[in-house]
Structure formats: C-alpha cells, structure tokens
Subunit: 421 residues, 2 copies
C-alpha cells in the first residue's frame, strides 16, 4: 500500500458500516416517533460561524482552509451553528415549535484517543420556539427512547440532570461568588470528574474563591437530592422548576432513567436552563449525550430570539458502550438467496430466477463466473446466503427449482411463482 | 443574518432532506437486492491518494489543507481511490468477487453551476475480482433497477454503452492514429457533445490527425449499430465481445434501456473495457451515471492487480431530472398522529396516549404548550397529522379517545388499546 488513511479517521468495512446503519436507524426511528423531521446542512461552513459562537481560539480545534478567494472555510465541528443559521434564514416562514433532527459527519482537529475521533457522527435533536419545561422533557424522552431501542437498560445508563440557573443561584447567592466570576467557576466545575480534588481546589483558589467559599461550594456539590436544597431559601425558585421537570419525566414513564446531579454543568457558556448528560452507570466512558436549553442561540447568529433546547449524541463513545455490552446488529448477510446452476442449468434460466427474486426485493446473488456447483455453494456460504435455489436443465419445462435451506440443510422443490413470496 | 452559507453548498430543509432520503433509500435498495453491501471511508484523505491516480493538477480541483504536521489532507472528490485503498489494505482476507456499494458526500472545488455543486452526494457500486462480462452487465442492471424504482422509464433515460477497446482498435488500426496519441484523441472525443464540430476538428488537427484520418474518424463516429462494424475486420474481436454484453443485457430483461453509442468515451484514462453513461433521452442534462471497467485500479494504489468494474451516480443532476419529471417523495408528514386535549383533558392523560402511540412506532406529536383545542388543531394541521386523538376528562375512566381523520373530517370513538394498532 502506498497511501495510509489519515489518523483519527475510520474506514467502514461492511461490519463497521452495518453497525453505523443500525445506530442511524435507531436515531432516526426515535426522532420520527416523536414527530421530529430530518434536516442537514453543508460540511463546509464559513469559519466565522464558529468564531462568532465560540471565539477565535476555536480555529485551533477545527479543520479549516482558505479558498482561492481568500475566504476561510471550516469543516463543521458540530451542527448547532448551522441549525441556527438555517432557522434564522427562514424564521418568519417556519411554523413553531420547530422539531428538527440531524445526523451529521463532524470534524475536530484534536488529539485522537479512545472515544475521541477527528471524524465522527453526531445525532442532533432540537426543539425550537418553546420555553416550557415540556420541551426539555420531550428531548430527554427521545434520547431515552433511542437508548432503550438499542437494548440498553436503566442498569446500563442514566440521564444526569441539573439546571444552570440552580447552580448559578447557588454559586452566586449562597456561596457568594461575584456574578462576573460565574462562567469561570462553571468551566472549572465542568472539569470536576477529570481532575484530582487538590487540583480543583487550586483552580478555584486561582479563580479568586476564598477558603470559606470553597467549603460552601463543596458542601452543596455533595447534595444528592433536590430536596436537600429546601433549606436554602435563595434557590427555592430554580429548585422548584427543576422538580417540575422531574415530575414530567415521571409522566413520560422514564423516571428510573433519570437522576438529579448538581455536578452536571456542561462546559459551554451558551446553556441557559436545564442541562443534562447521559453516562454509563459505571462511568467507564465519557458522556454519551449532552443536552440542555440554550435560549440565546438564535439571537447569537443574528436571528430573532427564540427559546430552544436539544441534545447531541456522538457515535464513537456510544459505539464503545454497545460493544462492551455485546449489543448491535446481527451478523450481516450480503445475500438472502443465492441462485446456483446445476449441471446443464442454463445461464439465462439462472438469470430469470435471479430477476424474479430481486423483483420480490430479495437480496440475491449468483455466481457471475459460472463455476462448478461446489464452487457456487462456497460463494453462497461466503455471501451468508440463507437459501440456495438450484436451477437444473429441467427448469425450462418445470419452472421449478430445488431450494436448499443453508442453516438446516433441508431441500425441497419449489415453483418459481412461490419462490421468495 | 450575520453569516451566509458557502457557495456551491446546500442547506437541506425538511423537504430537501425528504428527497435526499428518498433517493438514498432507492440507491440502497437496488444495491442490496443485487447482494451488494455498504461500505464507507473518511472524508479526509491524504492528498497524495488523488495525485497518484490523477496527477498533481488534481490539487487545483479539490479542497485541501495542510495540517499542523505539514500533511496535506484533501476532502475526497470521489470514492474510488478510497475503495481501492480499503481493498488493497485487506486484499488477502476479502472473499471475491467483492460487491460493495457506497453513498458518500464528495467535494470538488470547481465553478458552481446547474447540476455541478461543490458539495454533492455520489452513489458508487463496484464489483471487484471478475473480468467476466457478467460483472459489467450486473452493474448496469443495478443502475437500471434504481432508475426504474424512481419511476423513470426507458422513454425518460437510456444507458449508452461502448467499449474502450473497440474505440481504441478503431482509432489505432482503422483510422491509423499512433498508439501513443490515443489517450489524447479519447480526451478530445469525450468533449464531442460539449463543443462545436469546427472546434472538435481543430482540436483533432492540433493533436496531429491528418485530414484523411479525421474523415475516417468522423465516418465511424456516425455508426449507430454494432453490426455497422462487421465489415471492418480489425475490430471484429472487440465488437463481438460488446455484442456478447448486449446479449447479456437482454437476458437481464433491460435491452430496451440500453443502446450502443460509439461516442461514449469517459474522460478518465483509467477505463480499460466497457464504458457507459446514463442520459435523459432528450439530452437536456449532463450524464446521470458514469461507469465502466477499470482493471488497473488496484495495481495503481499498490495492491495486487484485480479486475474491476462499477459506476458512480451523483445526486445533483438526478435531482434536476426527477424534478423535471415530477417524481420524488410524497409530501412529508412530520406526525401521523396528534394527541389533543379537550376541555379538562389532563396533561398526564395526553402523555399516556402519546407514549402508547410512540410505543407502536407512530410518529406522534402533541401541543407542548397546552393551548386551546383550536390552537391544538392548528398545530396538528401544521404537522401534517393524519389523525387527531382527542383526550377528554372522561378518558381516566373510559380509556377511550375521539379519533378524528383529518382528511375526511370523520370522527369516531376508539379504545386506547386499538389506537395505532
């Protein structure tokens, strides 16, 4: 081989592709059951679209190029800015709420590692135009529906839910952190699972938090139930609205998948309300889903402000989890039927049977080289064929074939019109 | 709007996406019926992969960037080099013939115009490991199957078929062009439909063809039937093998879709045998499919030589043709069912009915805002819902809803367990 593939990208051989299609089918089915419709945008977007949302340092983390006209084009690192651009462009004409989903190939120029690829797929579900908690619950229910459809259970994964406003009120009003420091504290707290306790304390110290403030922060981060906040008057309101969301999730019948977790922050500054992540219970892997409310999204790209919520789910971490749990598609069959020619079976008769089966939408192969019956049976096995239809010299008169079940080895005589019915 | 999309790219709003999915489903179904399995590779490939196949000037026609390590990465302009790379990497382990198909997003940096986009999709079908004519016929039959499944007929499109070896023998042995000039003459002939007769003559003249040679070339280009070549002894062999291919296409039952056309050349040097293109009969559009045999492909990327044939079909020209013929998917429904709440119908009851329908895999929406019944009926119409299930205060006891058929306006009382069955 002269040329190697690019690091952090993947080749999808038939079995890899079967898993990808299996995953996409479940993403699509869960989205559609909840009345979401599919959309997509380009891979190439103006680099500015991402700089507007995330600042100029984003250019370091994505692939971009300059075209002959000096325009800077990026390979999309995520779908949300495209979504916002598309909605803003037709905002007046679109009936609300907008229920869109998308499955897109995205690109990030970062160190390739387990569960982090430079080329990956992302499922996005967005519900735009509603500030009701129902919209957040609806999105979470779509995520759970897909997870369940993949064969995962509440023993495997959980949805960890918090609310930016609750944590904001706690950090500001209860702990006493100045409002302008909140984004910095959020960014530090988002790293809580990834760094040691000492490191975290040092980071908070550097951010200007006094010893007493850090202790108060630590105390609230240990709270495991929403009712633990009942005694803290200044967060009554955000705590109550979050309780309301949990009541809705119970009405959706998915309470056992969901857990309150004050530690869910979501790094990005753009979340404005409920935030949630899906993790495997054992925390062996990174987050599988990340979602929340981002009511400033439309205004940020220059559109009319519109409340919005949604989530994204990548294929890499989910693929690792499915593999670890032994879940995924059954072994692939390239062909369901293989049409073989016995001694003196004519090629045109073989083709007639092939055409008949394909018209009946049966995946059908035959030996294009026309070798011995033994060779043909080998090809049928290679293709994973379930049935072999053997055409003999008598076919021209009888219009019947010998049908062999490759699993049981049983053979029987079948009339053409019954074949593949 | 602050940021515009990139020229030559497309936004897929729900209706555009519905057409894309409709097209992809037909591409997939035709491939699978013939026992082909899906594969894919990365969008980012080493630029060298394309330079090896097409020469350094290809870098002008594609998007590429240099990464932080100085590696030149290209956005794939086509799938075939990736296919060759993937096969070469596992050549010993793959049972032959290899029947692979692929639907990939590809990128070309060329002037955006009608039917030519900078970002487009391409369907590839490849049959590797067989030099029999059956393989070529099999590929053509898959193309015709997909076209037919889209509602197009032999009155709309035709497969124009020739053979590089036939044209090569004619140009060299009959016309008298030197062997080393053949690739240049082929490249000129490939432009025949795009330039004026005078221009073509001038180009052939520049290439060194004498007046007499040009006349002889013109004479054979006017031949419309394979039998016209019977009197030219030097091309007996390639003409006979091409006749054999047409006999096979008749056995496939697709003779009326296919026509011999000596003018089909295919620009790329890499074709080695039969070549074919699908055009609309009126020649209003560019070629819809291009295919042929390319037996040097594997060796070109450093693999063990293997015979190969296949085709590619883009979505842009095909989309224009389908639109012109009024073909494509039916109007999209975001939801099949809409669950509405009549006066005093409880939200938790609405949600119970919603969950029931979604479990039965029915695309189901409800009014997340919980407005008046009138408003809910408006939302149901926006979603294109076929049925509205109305939940009243009695539901808690009766477990029955009022089901309204939105097309006929008829209403009837339905028990929950029958709903969506």
């Amino acid at each position: 081989m002269k040329t190697q593939s690019v690091r952090g990208t993947r080749d999808f051989y038939p079995n890899d592709m079967a898993l990808r299609n299996w995953l996409f089918e479940r993403w699509r089915a869960a989205s559609r059951r909840a009345g979401f419709v599919e959309v997509d945008g380009p891979v190439l977007e103006p680099l500015d679209l991402y700089i507007e949302k995330s600042g100029p340092e984003i250019a370091e983390q994505l692939y971009w190029l300059e075209d002959k006209g000096g325009r800077r084009l990026a390979l999309r690192p995520e779908f949300t800015p495209t979504l916002a651009r598309m909605i803003a462009a037709r905002q007046a004409a679109l009936p609300t709420p907008i229920r869109w989903f998308n499955i897109s190939r995205c690109f990030r120029y970062e160190r390739a590692q387990k569960g982090r690829l430079r080329e990956f797929y992302q499922w996005n579900v967005d519900l735009i135009g509603l500030d009701e908690f129902y919209a957040d619950a609806e999105c979470i229910s779509v995520a759970v529906d897909a997870i369940q459809d993949m064969g995962l259970t509440p023993d495997d994964v959980e949805v960890r839910i918090s609310d930016r406003r609750l944590l904001g009120a706690l950090v500001h009003k209860y702990v006493g952190v100045a409002e302008k420091l909140i984004p910095r504290v959020f960014a530090i707290l988002d790293k809580r699972d990834k760094v040691a306790t000492d490191t975290l304390a040092a980071m908070l110290n550097d951010a200007g938090l006094k010893n007493e403030e850090r202790q108060r922060l630590e105390r609230i981060l240990a709270f495991e139930n929403l009712s633990d906040f009942d005694s803290i008057g200044v967060v009554r309101e955000p705590a109550d609205t979050l309780k309301h969301l949990f009541d809705l999730l119970a009405d959706y019948g998915i309470a056992d998948w969901c857990r309150f977790d004050i530690g869910v922050v979501r790094g990005l500054a753009y979340y404005t309300g409920p935030v949630w992540e899906v993790y495997d219970r054992k925390s062996e892997f990174r987050a599988i889903f990340g979602g929340g409310r981002y009511d400033r999204l439309l205004a940020d790209v220059g559109g009319r402000p519109m409340p919005a919520c949604g989530f994204a789910c990548g294929d890499a971490v989910l693929g690792l989890l499915l593999k670890a749990r032994g879940l995924g598609p059954a072994a692939q069959r390239a062909a369901q039927y293989f049409v073989a020619s016995a001694q003196e079976g004519k090629r045109s008769d073989v083709l007639l049977v092939v055409r008949h089966l394909r018209r009946r939408n049966r995946a059908t192969q035959f030996d294009l080289k026309g070798g011995s019956l033994k060779r043909q049976m080998k090809k049928a096995a290679d293709a994973g064929a379930q049935f072999v239809a053997i055409v003999t010299a008598e076919f021209a008169e009888s219009r019947r074939v010998t049908l062999r079940d490759m699993d049981s080895g049983e053979q029987r005589d079948v009339a053409l019109e019954e074949l593949g019915a």
